[in-house]
Symmetry: C2
Subunit: 518 residues, 2 copies
Amino acid sequence: MTTGAQALLRTLLAGGVDVCFANPGTSEMHAVAALDTEPGMRAVLTLFEGVATGAADGFARMADRPAATLLHLGPGLGNGLANLHNARRAGTGIVNVVGDHALTHAKYDAPLQSDIAGMAATVSGWVHLTRGPAQVAADTAAAVAAARAGQVATLILPADASWSEGAADEPAPVPPVPERGTGNPESLAAAAAALRTGEPCLLLLGGDATREAGLAAAGRIAAATGARIMVETFPTRLQRGAGRVPAERLAYLPDRAAQQLAGTRHLLLAGARSPVAFFGHPGKRGDLVPEGCHVYEIAGREDAAALTLAELADQVAGDATAHLAPARRPELPTGPLRADVVAAVVGALLPENAVVVDEANTSSVGLPAATTGAPPHDWLCLTGGAIGWGLPTATGAALACPDRPVWNLQADGSALYTITALWTQAREGLDVTTVVYNNAAYAILRLELAAVGAAGGPNARSLLDLDRPRPDFVSLATGMGVPASRAETAEELATALSRATAEPGPHLIEAIVPPVVP
Amino acid sequence: MTTGAQALLRTLLAGGVDVCFANPGTSEMHAVAALDTEPGMRAVLTLFEGVATGAADGFARMADRPAATLLHLGPGLGNGLANLHNARRAGTGIVNVVGDHALTHAKYDAPLQSDIAGMAATVSGWVHLTRGPAQVAADTAAAVAAARAGQVATLILPADASWSEGAADEPAPVPPVPERGTGNPESLAAAAAALRTGEPCLLLLGGDATREAGLAAAGRIAAATGARIMVETFPTRLQRGAGRVPAERLAYLPDRAAQQLAGTRHLLLAGARSPVAFFGHPGKRGDLVPEGCHVYEIAGREDAAALTLAELADQVAGDATAHLAPARRPELPTGPLRADVVAAVVGALLPENAVVVDEANTSSVGLPAATTGAPPHDWLCLTGGAIGWGLPTATGAALACPDRPVWNLQADGSALYTITALWTQAREGLDVTTVVYNNAAYAILRLELAAVGAAGGPNARSLLDLDRPRPDFVSLATGMGVPASRAETAEELATALSRATAEPGPHLIEAIVPPVVP
């Protein structure tokens, strides 16, 4: 007497997946109904699928276990694709459940029918259409395993597989996930030899090497060998702050990144990919590895990069002690806000054990330096470049870490993609403080227009401006049920941040700043 | 010295495509820059790709010629997919331009790279990756031809094909689009024979048969033969009002649709597909054609359905005169708003020559009856069922018809998907009046939860509610720069609608109503 919908939820719960970010429709109604027979699942309603998928990304980055989504057919999946793309690039596991028409209904090509599997394949490491209630539990367990391995696992669940009885009463066991490897000994030996040359070496960290343990190992290596440490441009989750090994991030703009990498003779990749330009630019190299530099992949994206670094440290670092960031905060600044002034205020006030969700884009100038010595915190980045990620991810991170303050440092244009995440934050009472940098422009595109060598006349410029009218984020947040205020000076921002930190629940602060690129 | 970007714009303009709904990114910067050398193109900035694609749909429905989009890579296309799905189901032509990484950059698998062609194939009738500047003009012309034929035509434009010189100076000619056929004579003869039997016949109209000419022909046939006329559930563009042939629409809920179709012996399809349930429901038929009913496809979705109906009318209707809807409006009601009260106010006040964009969903109860005798107007429907369509489509319809008032009757949950369309309406000064039915619920899902036979406990119900907190659309519209007001009574709604109609530019009215399904 168990329906496929019940088997889905039971297997998810048995597999440790107990949060589901949902935008259901008719074809998902039995999965929704099963929430009352399987009450262990926490279903979180979002008002747009991109919020659901981004929240699932943020949840998994902070909880180190997957959440599920519940999306409605092809169009619902389509709305969620951008943040699934970011999750794919982050290596975040998500059990992405997409309802479909009943299998018996597929032959009618009803208006909402489309090629879900084809769409899902563009963002998923695992895609499967479940064929009936008897298959749901095993298929769900396989999806959980794929998600635990860091993949977006899309389970397409036809409505009749969901509503029909005939599923097993017991959840299916989740297949074991292979342990992550520690790279191969030969490349480790080659890397160790390179580190002993005394020539300029650089450790580029990504994957799980940007957590505390990986950084600690890299710090020992650096202390012993003089190698530099750098983190990939947009790490999935970077643990930093006072008492941790500080690491510069590779710049987004290729010219600046090339400067950072210049002179490197040996580039050691630990969980990071070999550096390439984010975009191609006319007449410029896409590969950022300096000419003549040797590249060593000591651990790939899928490997246990932190563990590999620890092995390497044991080989080359002896009992060297890593340099740690001292506790140090900027003074609280005064006067009109600019992006760098916001950074100083954030650095001065960031609470202990915060989670920072950074979609500040061009406005992030000054943030890393201002927060290196702040109390220890996690920093989440826009791994895949698909904007509209910050508010949803902050939502999911807050659900994963109810006892930690979440600060979402957020560009205005990107915020507008998924602004309804604020409503979910209000409904769930999440402790998220969103600081929107309102510069009334797609400032990053002004930068890029120049960088690609395109001349910008008035028609072009008007496509990069967000004025006429300037969005009013205080009104928008109020409309979503989130208390909001506007700050035009450092003092006002500091007051608003202190109040937001003191009060439970979500807050939004609109920081009026000039664009970094005028 | 012509770049691919210039060739793109020149060929679009030569092909009559002179409006582009844009969400550009770095890979599209040269196309943006070319807006200043090819100033004939009107580029309209949207803050989210789903607004761009929905606006292109609305534009083409009203202008009867395609607009272009300009989207940023796979994630940008992903955000636009839902409304491209609606366009595909509407038979709307769109030149869907998606920028991609430079071809020379593809080998690096940079963070924003993904399978654009695979994603595009799920919604497009035509997909092509252009290979270089010399190919851009011809590829663009082919895309325009496909769009003129009613397809979503996705042109993938790598950044280097856009920025490089070597394109032809002259635009490429658009290949001729085959004339739409008028169905085959045999099925027309069979249909004529059926109409002459005197048995119950029903003409189901879709495609271009829901415009004035098609309805007029159907009206003659009905007058001569006693056949009933019905329009498919969600027509692309229905021309109706006083002095036009009135036609009932096939109901959304299958039980109600089955009642409408009961007793029909001969079902004649003119531009409409054979009726099927929108969703499968447990234990119910998906095919809505009554047992024993003969089906005649006199014109397919792709055919000239109106012309075919005119031929059929010439065969069977002689000089019969169609029944036309008399000019008749409801009295202005008074008292608290409900969905049916809103309908009466709309019927009483709908301006001459209005365009109605209907995404009212459950709240649309009473609207058709209340407006049958209103001044002639066009009625646009959610063809593909992917919500978040109304505000974007109203935006595009207003750009296509600057001299006509556009009324967007809009469900709350769906409005929140693409709420930033209001900003584009404000920027462009579009004469759109949005009436949001705020019932604080996904009321349609309450209906569907019951219809699929699923029991709804408190956990399920909470996923169908939009209260806690109730979105405040006046604040949201204000935040987007659109003047807004709230109406709780018929009198307040009438006052607000009259003011919105009298003033130029966009307005939003939040109509507080109880859900149709409590």
